[in-house]
Symmetry: C2
Subunit: 511 residues, 2 copies
């Protein structure tokens, strides 16, 4: 493939070739400003498809739900179409049974029943939110480079990093959460920026990661940081596009966070298994209690910086805006860069708009989480939209962790029939709880949907005689109660009974 | 066509033939119990398609929106397929430019702009909610029969009825409203019974009807009613189906209502033109301030009764249930038969989820109505979901009528940007106003959606400097503001400005 900006014929395959042997899918951009400039020139000559409209229109019922035409076209424009193909091959192997929200860059979400199977999410089912293709890097060929404001720059092979004689290893139980988790709730009521985003109702999962604290690596390999270092920047091997510019993925976290040994680790193991490629093998960062975007996958370079990363993922995305900011006036500097995640929870079972036939109690199950080292203290469920609240018993929650969710279940007393609105709220160890309504926390970029999660259920209480009678009637006729909206085909009352009732209490007054 | 219940071959075309010459599409059922029984037996042998699921799934974007497969199949099963065809021909002639919600029985709704053109709705655009095929009856052949609890039964030709020397004529300005008006709001949040119902967001319209008061006709033609008459039943010429039984359309209203001369009239003229066939020509009932269903079309028979009509439209439908009643326990006698309509209103412009670019005021337009002889006194609009309310000026409303709506418009002061929730409420002459939320008035049969109508608008206030700047920027680049969700393709802030801003107020505290 060739491209001809400004009349110069360019062999893009050669110019934008992979950087290193056995680092499949990795193209280096950050070291080569001229190469980035040429890529920009090429991208400017092309028209790319708009991101799919998934907010104003119903979502397709397909799997993958959406197709990443735009990012595929970006890659193809630079002769990188092979990345698209091998990424999908990896997904098929590692993640064949989850919901594929977007095929490329790959975004997949755990199905409901998989999410609640266990406190730790099976690696096969753990959500994935990627920003580019999936590199395929041979472990033996891999090395990590550390530079910037450190006493001495270093390169470390994975073999050395994994050597417990050189670096202390830790295991941490960590819930990772995309800040798009539960975004569908914002989208359905108040659409916002549609930039490459896809709704992520359940973009959350938990695993035990094994690795080494970054703090220890900086100390031992680089002799520590320089006094003016404030942020540590992580560069990932995937290719990232933003407004016709090309980058390697780059984000940063404060040194203050890195100082807590087990809160920022370089990890190669997930739930006792080697880290899957789709999760960042051979090496990724895990930042506890932060937005998932900071837990950089395929990290091959770390820079000690005086200020936060200027990478667009850090400086131009994952920004939290006040509601007066929107398409009409957004600037990057008017957003608050999302790092620690707030307290949040969700009802996973039952689903919204289900019919529940019960005898006075309805069982609800879900997750609850808080970021920034706050643990989940209490979970409460309301059967009436937020007036009456019932607390989940401690024995009905999984154990506390500093950096992980608690799964919970509760039998909620329910007398009323018809449509009822259930919601959940969580109190964390700082006594933070959640905003009440979606609109209480709406923001243009549709991040951190942390309001009390709400579902409507149609309650059928068979402990009530009239209901028990109707259910029996349906049973005798071999007719199901559902679909709810399907009319009953038989008379609801015989004429004599009807007349007796309406004559006893006539519609119009007698005088 | 023939049918063979119980092994007996029946010629349905002959058995269920039209009753009278020049009364096309009219089959008499109520006089012939045996014929009804045979029809029932035939219908019981067949399987009919379920009504379309329009509540749990998105509505198709087609016009007609829904196809009446079920009612077409009912007609075909009795050899009445010709009624389906000629009904649609009449619709094409009389109503070609409205929204066809259901093709058969025909249900059509006025488009938004047609609704607000004039205080009186153009006959071509007035909504139609039919329950069967449209009869095509020659005026000269028509006669009205009156029986039951009257001093003397009578038959009156249309010519006599229209003779001002015999019967005093009146003109009344009347808003008719299907009790399904604005049902879409209930459906979208809380689905209910799906029996032949289609959402009817704007099933309302206003016309001047000319005719004769029923009270005068009863007096002059029949010598008045007997003392035990409490209800007047109207029988319409169309064929109506309910749970495999067949009927002529039948409803009733109290004698107490009929006593008000101009509140129950027999009408043949609509807005100075002959009544269209789809609206009941040659003769229909108009009942002011009541649910549209009582204004019986193609009325050919009136019965004076001691009790309300046992017709299923009266006794089994248009019932208003308390929220604890639903599919699990409904009986006909547990509903309140809907006659007078409550106070209600709607915002017609702008539409839900529109983007509004303005300079501090947003114009809203709509209708407001109350039934039962209450007139609309005051209309109020809230730009914040129901806390602050602004009243519409009297000069911005059409004139008061006892039995008709008022159209209104208002410029609402709006400073805020982003998603705002507007709602409208109306106060009638009894100081009734509307429930606040859809769920405040939800009912299983989804009738009288009278809660404060709500829309979300995305406000872009160009009197704000940052917004004016962005709009200018878009203009210079030749890019539209909409679609709202489409990402901006240019940088939202240059690097120097960004750095100056984030260095002035850094993300993390200094200490």
């Amino acid at each position: 493939m060739s491209s001809e900006p400004n009349g110069t014929k360019i062999d893009v395959e050669k110019l934008f070739a992979e950087e290193k042997a056995d680092w499949k899918g990795y193209v280096e951009w950050e070291q080569y400003p001229e190469k980035k400039e040429i890529a920009h020139t090429i991208l400017e000559t092309k028209k790319f498809p708009y991101p799919p409209e998934f907010q104003m229109a119903p979502l397709p019922k397909t799997n993958p739900v959406l197709i990443g035409h735009r990012w595929k076209a970006y890659h193809e424009a630079l002769g990188l179409g092979h990345i698209v193909d091998h990424s999908w091959d990896i997904v098929q192997k590692e993640k064949h049974d989850i919901i594929h929200l977007l095929d490329f860059p790959y975004n997949g979400e755990t199905r409901r029943y998989q999410l609640l199977e266990n406190k730790l999410t099976n690696n096969k089912y753990h959500f994935v939110r990627n920003h580019g293709g999936i590199p395929d890097i041979k472990e033996e060929a891999f090395e990590l480079e550390i530079g910037g404001l450190v006493n001495k720059p270093a390169k470390i092979s994975l073999k050395d990093l994994k050597d417990p004689a050189q670096f202390l290893q830790v295991e941490v139980t960590v819930t990772l959460q995309c800040s798009g988790t539960r975004r569908i709730e914002q989208i359905m009521q108040y659409p916002g920026d549609g930039d490459e985003l896809i709704n992520a109702p359940w973009g959350i999962g938990t695993a035990v990661y094994r690795g080494v604290p970054l703090k220890k690596v900086l100390k031992r390999a680089c002799g520590g940081i320089l006094p003016n270092c404030e942020h540590l920047e992580f560069i990932g091997a995937e290719t990232y596009f933003k407004k016709n510019n090309v980058f390697n993925y780059a984000v940063s976290v404060p040194w203050r966070k890195v100082r807590q040994n087990e809160e920022v680790i370089l990890a190669w193991e997930m739930n006792g298994e080697p880290l899957p490629k789709s999760h960042g093998a051979p090496l990724r960062v895990i930042v506890t209690g932060y937005i998932g975007a900071r837990s950089c996958k395929w990290v091959y370079k770390i820079n000690a910086l005086a200020e936060p990363s200027m990478g667009p993922v850090q400086s131009q995305e994952y920004l939290y805006y006040t509601p007066q900011i929107g398409k009409q006036n957004t600037k990057y500097s008017s957003g608050f860069s999302i790092q620690q995640m707030p307290v949040s929870s969700a009802i996973i079972f039952p689903e919204d708009k289900e019919v529940i036939i019960h005898d006075g109690k309805i069982t609800l199950k879900g997750w609850a989480y808080s970021g920034g080292g706050n643990w989940v203290e209490r979970v409460e469920v309301s059967p009436d939209g937020g007036s009456v609240w019932y607390a989940v018993a401690q024995e009905d929650m999984t154990e506390k962790h500093y950096h992980a969710w608690r799964l919970w279940k509760i039998d909620v007393p329910v007398d009323a029939e018809g449509w009822l609105e259930f919601c959940v709220r969580t109190w964390d160890s700082s006594n933070n709880t959640e905003p009440t309504f979606v609109r209480s926390a709406w923001n243009w970029d549709l991040h951190v949907t942390s309001s009390a999660h709400r579902i409507k259920l149609y309650s059928v209480n068979k402990s009530k005689p009239a209901t028990a009678k109707r259910l029996k009637e349906l049973d005798e006729k071999g007719v199901g109660f559902e679909p709810l909206t399907r009319p009953l085909e038989f008379a609801l009352e015989d004429v004599d009974e009807y007349l007796a009732n309406v004559r006893k209490y006539p519609r119009e007054p007698r005088s």
